[in-house]
Symmetry: C2
Subunit: 563 residues, 2 copies
């Protein structure tokens, strides 16, 4: 089989205005950005409203290994699969972060014959939205430093500044830094650091806003720290929320691309999956929901995290209600949940994992059962997509199908990686059937539930924990946020995606444990409170052999080495 | 008169493919980026080669005040002026840096009726080239840190790393920082800092390269520091030059925009004027030189700096030969060179400067005379453009014309700010006449002159210094660079633009002084050696009332407050 890059390069692309026309998006709503992508004006939300509403499908997964489950590939494949059954599928995904593209993970365009093309454009800069978020975020950082330097009118406490800086690069040296050294004109010495741009609250609030006006208001609500009297200091008070919004007037427009099979793809925003929502933008989905027969949107990580945040934060912001959820599972995921194997990012699978072993698959089924329950808990019908690998054995696929049958869930083996849309046609049929059933979608908790109880509900009902261990610091913070009037916000739990528990090494579906809540932070602009449960890394590092070392241009000026 | 933003918004723009067609640029060479700009494929350089060569005009200035002389406005106005005399002028300018846009300086689209439109697009992100440079620069920084962290195969000396990080924001707190704090996995603690992105060597080398292949080779030659044995360590040795180039495959393409009068504008690259060349890109000029009757390109700062670097560095790289140079002068510039007034950025002019006073203008003429000589020293014919202000008095204009007549230089009073191209028609006529004379363009020094002598020639013949005061450190560095084989590179002097001397407070055309050479650095990838003569700030700060505070979006979602 050809490499992802070779498949991408060989793909025949359709002019994007034709792709848009099929979606009901008229030329005046479309701004081409090179030949790879076009931006869609937010006016499309209103102009498309009278068109029929698409079925809304979220693609999630069981708890993945560090290698991932091929969720983007499945999302793209399913979109293409709808084409095979005579329906127009619209795909909605996040913009990849460039940090990991040059690190260990590589790009995030899907893979094989289920890819967004051209993959170089998707993986590198795209239309610059990530950079615009970075710039807006760091303008606020500079304005904070300038405010301290120029007399500190607001009485901002330098020790209570929580707003850091961001860059879209894997740079461990920037995690913990001291700034403001030098001389009298070089600012106030302070300990701070950089996060990767995907972890910026600006990214989170861009992904959750519903209009430019809403973006402006959320920007103003960003809390950067507090005064010496403990009062919150906002971007509005620093008079920078307007300029930050002005920097994002293009970035707020979703990007239209296409798959190798010319299926429309909306690419927009890339918030982190742990400290933020891990879901693509609300505005892209508000356009996509009236642009085809099925809108297939991807949620980051496993169903306990990405889908839970999709149901309770993203859908809360958008007002959209999902019709079905695809749970991606792979043989190697389930084998890993048997607890017998250790999978490490950037290294080959343990060879013994490749031997035929349906018993290991069954031994790991508890995680799949829990994630099925997590989707059903929101009143949504799950469909299992087994993302097939050439190293899988038929008996192992059968084991997964047996578990699905026991749970009464539709399931198919999907060959979209090798066969594109054709390989996902059966999956598309199953999803179409699930969508035909009435959706009983509902959120997990009401807005007026106290914050600590919201965390408790998620810990118990999604993760299978017995309860919470709230640190004294976290308890004080929760109390402070309730007092500050943030109690009605949803919670966005920052937890490892590699386990249902807070310990990444615990596989399957552990019971008899409690969720530690170490600390609680607020993204007031984005509109959620995020409890920190375990060590969250918000700035990745590079590996001993980063992908950057093999990426280059060839003699024809084409990019090589991207994967 | 309307505000710049109001004029920009009212401008009727022509579809860019029509603008390009007039330039002989076929649709297959053009990639639209939104409606504001389009990228031009570098294939245009070859495809346009058989078309007639345009006359090549550089716009420079006398030594400006901190308020600037309106050089971009004049460049744009002159381009429009050629339209008034039945010729096609092509304008080539740098991309503005966003840091100053939100700081004290505001945008850099020109002004009044001589503007590049839409000014919001030009001033904010444009097509993302500046961000791509930032990302490529910082990937190298991360790879350096990672190299140290993962065993330091090359034996890079942490104390000898000269490669910093960059961001396009005015953030004084980032000038001097300590990175790599935290724990064992968080890198190696080091003292370092950020420069503004315009000061990145990646920006300088992008502006000087002639092709993607040349870019790749220059990238590999970047020196980031040295080993413990004193051997240079390059981006090639760190295996990151390919990835950095891959990140710039779009950024290398010049951006096509237009003026309020639909004159074509090539916007490309924005290297700093002191530690780098301060000139727009070579590739843009290689396209523009066959795309019209006159290619009008702007060089940063005064003729002693920007034009000198244009003649001796940019033209050396491009192989192009200029036909004329426009020297922009304003009444307030000349009055300031009388030494009687102090002009401060961000503050109104001293009111007494506005009183009619042709004697002050004459008292400041020495600077104008020196800059005329500086242009002539390169065998190029100067034309003086007096950029008229409503507060000027006719007697003051006459004083400048008298000086010009004494020097035998064509001069016109230009009203392009208030009257657009019509106001610059006379200037266009004068420039056309100058271009009709044979050009005797030559560089100031041969490649094989020792580095220290190159500096001496510039100091004497451009700045009017008696000689050099080379510090012991600088002398050692010059010797080191000669030994390393960099002796044939041109020198790019980092000096204040506010004086012909190295002291920004000294006005006019001082004599009897020596140029201090404090330190010498090498931009081996960009291909020049840069002696530091005085304090060079490579990361600006924000003021007490930054422009960011008044920029916002209005109820229609339009950007307001940009200037």
């Amino acid at each position: 089989m050809l490499s992802d890059l070779a498949i991408s390069r060989a793909a025949v692309r359709r002019p994007l205005h034709e792709v848009a026309a099929d979606m009901g998006i008229a030329p005046h709503l479309l701004e081409p950005y090179g030949t790879a992508a076009a931006k869609i004006s937010l006016a499309a939300i209103d102009e498309l409203k009278s068109r029929p509403r698409a079925k809304y499908v979220v693609v999630t997964a069981i708890t993945p290994t560090p290698l991932g489950s091929g969720k983007t590939t499945t999302t793209v494949g399913l979109g293409q699969g709808f084409g095979q059954i005579g329906k127009l599928g619209i795909v909605a995904i996040r913009q990849p972060s460039m940090g990991p593209t040059f690190g260990i993970k590589g790009g995030a365009a899907g893979g094989g014959y289920s890819q967004v093309v051209p993959m170089e454009a998707l993986n590198l800069h795209l239309t610059g939205d990530m950079h615009a978020v970075t710039a807006a975020h760091n303008l606020l950082s500079a304005m904070i430093g300038n405010h301290l330097h120029k007399g500190n009118r607001l009485g901002l406490d330098p020790h209570e500044i929580t707003w850091r800086r961001v860059l879209d690069v894997n740079d461990r040296e920037l995690r913990n830094i001291v700034t403001g050294l030098g001389g009298a004109d070089d600012g106030t010495p302070r300990q701070t650091g950089f996060d990767i741009s995907a972890a910026s609250e600006v990214m989170a609030l861009l992904s959750l806003c519903t209009s430019l006006r809403d973006l402006r208001e959320r920007m103003g609500r960003i809390v950067v720290g507090s005064t010496r009297d403990g009062e919150p200091v906002t971007a509005e008070m620093l008079k920078v929320a307007g300029a930050m919004t002005a920097m994002l007037t293009d970035a707020i427009k979703p990007n239209l691309m296409q798959t190798v099979e010319q299926t429309p793809v909306l690419v927009h925003c890339g918030p982190f999956g742990n400290i933020a929502t891990g879901n693509s933008s609300v505005v892209a989905d508000l356009i996509g929901i009236h642009a085809g027969d099925y809108l297939v949107t991807e949620a980051g990580f496993g169903a306990d995290i990405g889908a839970e945040k999709f149901f309770n934060i993203k859908c809360r912001a958008s007002g959209l209600t999902p019709d079905a959820a695809v749970l991606v599972a792979t043989v190697r995921d389930l084998k890993t949940h048997s607890g017998k194997y250790r999978v490490v990012a950037g290294r080959p699978l343990p060879p013994e994992m490749l031997a035929e072993n349906p018993d290991d698959v069954l031994a790991g089924a508890a995680n799949l059962r829990r994630q099925i329950a997590n989707v059903r808990r929101h009143g949504v019908t799950p469909v299992i997509a087994v993302n097939a690998f050439p190293t899988d054995h038929p008996s192992e696929h059968r084991a997964i199908l047996d578990v699905a049958a026991e749970e009464g869930v539709r399931a198919t083996i999907s060959h979209h990686f090798t066969d594109g849309g054709k390989g996902a046609a059966e999956l598309a049929e199953a999803v179409a059937e699930a969508c035909a059933e009435p959706s009983d979608y509902h959120r997990l908790y009401p807005d007026d539930l106290p914050l600590v109880d919201k965390i408790k509900v998620i810990a118990r009902e999604m993760y299978g924990a017995d309860g919470l261990d709230v640190s004294p610091l976290a308890a004080r913070q929760l109390e402070k946020y309730e007092r500050a009037g943030y109690g009605s916000l949803p919670v966005c739990i920052a937890k490892t995606h590699l386990s249902l528990s807070a310990d990444p090494s615990i596989k399957g579906a552990p019971t008899g444990w409690r969720l530690p809540v170490r600390e609680v932070r607020a993204s007031v602009g984005a509109g959620f409170i995020y409890p920190i449960c375990g060590d969250m890394r918000t700035m990745p590092g590079l590996s001993s052999a980063p992908a950057a070392e093999i990426i280059d241009i060839d003699d024809d000026g084409q990019i090589v080495g991207l994967s």
